[in-house]
């Protein structure tokens, strides 16, 4: 577990659990990759005001405990399918605030994962400063 300056330890742990559900490849990152991902998210959150960080922390706490009502377990103790179901409820559910909160959280995961420089090669995105030679590549 890499420490985050922007979130308390418990919130950071939920964030990583959410990240592995949103982008399953997060679970396969090595220590360096995970550290880079967390570093990107952490830096972005540190640029936000403390109120916003607090809201994110509260939302992560909500994700952690919401499944207790349905499954009798916290998010971190659920299997992959139930984790997906919980996050789908946040994404598609009737509460606008939850939908928007989840959208923001998801965006942070994507920023951390796809913002890593090596993610470009992993998805096959390979722009070049001089791309003229590659125009007829495919």
């Amino acid at each position: 577990m890499n420490a985050m300056k922007s979130l308390p330890k418990s919130a950071a742990e939920v964030f990583l659990d959410v990240a592995e559900t949103v982008t399953p490849e997060v679970a396969t990152l090595d220590a360096e990759g995970r550290s880079r991902m967390i570093g990107i998210v952490d830096a972005a959150l540190m640029d936000r005001d403390s109120g916003t960080r607090q809201q994110i922390g509260t939302f992560l706490k909500l994700i952690r405990f919401a499944p207790v009502l349905r499954y009798g377990r916290t998010f971190d103790r659920l299997g992959p399918e139930r984790r997906v179901a919980v996050l789908r409820w946040f994404q598609d559910g009737p509460v606008g605030l939850f939908r928007q909160g989840f959208w923001g959280l998801k965006a942070m995961v994507f920023m951390g994962y796809y913002g890593r420089p090596e993610a470009r090669a992993e998805v096959g995105y390979a722009p070049e400063f001089d791309g003229r030679g590659g125009l007829g590549r495919a």
Binding site: T21, G115, Y125, R137
Partner: protein
């Protein structure tokens, strides 16, 4: 607080600020002092790395993710020496006559805007890219449109020596895009206009403005030491973009006698659609935006454009998460993208306000008609993808994550209107217009047709916040044409305006 004195202060250095700086620069020879105060940094040529997160942080407000009040849209606008012209794709369209007529602003006529726009196009080296330099992501859009009988036009773009990096929206790493940071500002500086970066203007009045210079931790140092400044001036032109110009005037108390200030904001709400082809296509080399389809502007109020975004931006704009999302992301070399833009009405209720800290908050609600437009645009874009040979399509309001080619004949039912709900789709805007609209008087607008704020003699607005309604095309050429007009007024009346 340190003090500075100028004859003209221009707040912002983007399409409007850069144009004003260049067009007013001849006054320097007559002994006048002109400053451009830009909130963002000036980056060295080798600082354009093409890395998405890094460049977004350095060149956009909130990394391009400013949220509206209800968090259903994100807004992307630039903050740099050159403003948003550093990060646009350089597509250069002249506003149609019928839109100018709809604006109905005294003094603003199509022939005059057309003449000024032509000057902008020439100055910025606007031309059609040679066919050999257009990539498959774009050519497939044209092929799809052609097959369906839709009108497809090529975007004129403002590049010089384009090397096909495809990284326009992260700032061209080759300096090819002819934004104000490459064309107008260097001319102005050579003539003696002072450009001060990392300088945020906090309040404005008819005698000048208050500003704060702070080091953001990247970019070249500002010409002024960090600190607070009182800058006096005979003429002030606010050109910080729709959100920040409006917020500046609100913060400075102009809302007290201008009830329209902040209102009638339009955004061209936009969505990204993705089509996956059975083979790899060229999409990450070449200019990202070569064609558009305006066949549906009058009938359904939307515009379709080619586009190509970077991994994080793409991931963020897809709906859903998990295995399917990852699968689509890993198909990146096979992806074709279309950007749809809704032509939104100017409503008094869509507005920019200030929060308790004096920071801008954008309060914008998509009307049912706009949601209808976005819905129809997704259906038509899906048809274009399939007509171009895509094996499946991801539409933000699709009833399933993928719509497969065998279902192409029923895209209407696969993209139900009921799914087009704010907050469920990633809706963005990079065309922010209105807030300081031009018009007849303080009852219906903020400025007159020259951009002069009602009730003042020496305070002007010079950017897209002036638009009384949306431009229905990419707005930067119109912004420059209007700024050219305002500069002409100031030059012609310099004797009166620039006298203490």
């Amino acid at each position: 607080m340190r003090e500075r004195d100028f004859d003209v202060v221009i707040v912002g250095s983007g399409a409007a600020g850069g144009t004003l700086a260049k067009e007013l620069a001849p006054l320097v020879e007559a002994g006048k002092r002109i400053a451009v105060l830009e909130w963002g940094p000036r980056l060295a040529d080798d600082a354009y790395t093409g890395h998405e997160v890094e460049m977004a942080k350095q060149l956009y407000f909130d990394s391009g993710g400013v949220l509206t009040r209800d968090r259903t849209m994100t807004l992307a606008y630039g903050r740099a020496y050159g403003g948003s012209t550093v990060v646009y794709t350089g597509t250069s369209l002249v506003m149609p006559r019928e839109v100018v007529e709809r604006w109905d602003v005294p003094g603003i006529v199509h022939d005059d805007l057309q003449r000024r726009s032509a000057k902008v196009l020439e100055e910025n080296n606007v031309h059609l890219l040679d066919e050999s330099k257009i990539n498959e992501n774009n050519l497939l859009f044209r092929a799809g449109c052609t097959k369906l009988g839709y009108r497809c036009r090529q975007f004129p773009i403002n590049v010089k020596g384009c090397r096909a990096s495809s990284l326009c929206n992260l700032g061209c790493p080759n300096g090819a895009k002819q934004g104000t940071h490459k064309v107008q500002l260097p001319v102005a500086e050579a003539a003696g206009v002072e450009v001060v970066t990392n300088c945020r203007v906090t309040r404005v009045d008819e005698e000048g403005c208050d500003a704060v210079v702070a080091d953001p931790g990247f970019g070249l140092p500002s010409a002024w030491e960090p600190g607070t400044y009182r800058v006096t001036a005979r003429v002030v032109v606010v050109a910080g973009g729709a959100v920040n110009s409006t917020a500046l005037l609100l913060r400075s108390g102009f809302g007290d006698h201008l009830p329209v200030l902040g209102r009638y904001l339009t955004l061209h709400p936009a969505l990204i659609l993705v089509g996956e082809h059975p083979r790899e296509i060229t999409n990450d080399h070449g200019h990202p935006k070569s064609f558009y389809c305006d066949d549906f502007v009058e009938s359904e109020r939307f515009l379709l454009e080619t586009c190509m975004y970077f991994p994080f931006t793409t991931a963020k704009n897809l709906i859903g998460f998990g295995a399917e999302h990852s699968e689509l992301m890993r198909a990146f070399p096979r992806l074709q993208m279309i950007l749809v833009l809704a032509i939104d009405p100017a409503l008094s209720s869509n507005r920019i306000e200030l929060n308790g800290d004096g920071e801008p908050v954008v309060d914008y609600t998509m009307t049912p008609a706009v949601l209808d437009s976005l819905h129809r645009s997704m259906v038509e874009s899906s048809r274009i993808f399939f007509a171009a040979g895509a094996r499946r399509v991801h539409a933000p309001a699709g009833s399933s994550f993928f719509i497969n080619a065998e279902d192409a004949h029923r895209v209407d039912e696969m993209i139900p209107r009921a799914n087009v709900v704010p907050g469920r789709m990633s809706v963005t805007s990079a065309h922010l217009m209105g807030g300081c609209r031009m018009g007849r008087g303080a009852g219906d607008s903020v400025t007159d047709g020259w951009g002069r704020v009602h009730g003042t003699t020496r305070l002007f607005v010079g950017d897209s916040s002036l638009f009384p309604q949306c431009s229905e095309v990419n707005p930067y050429v119109t912004v420059m044409a209007l700024a050219d007009r305002t500069a002409e007024f100031i030059r012609d009346n310099a004797g009166e305006l620039l006298t203490s």
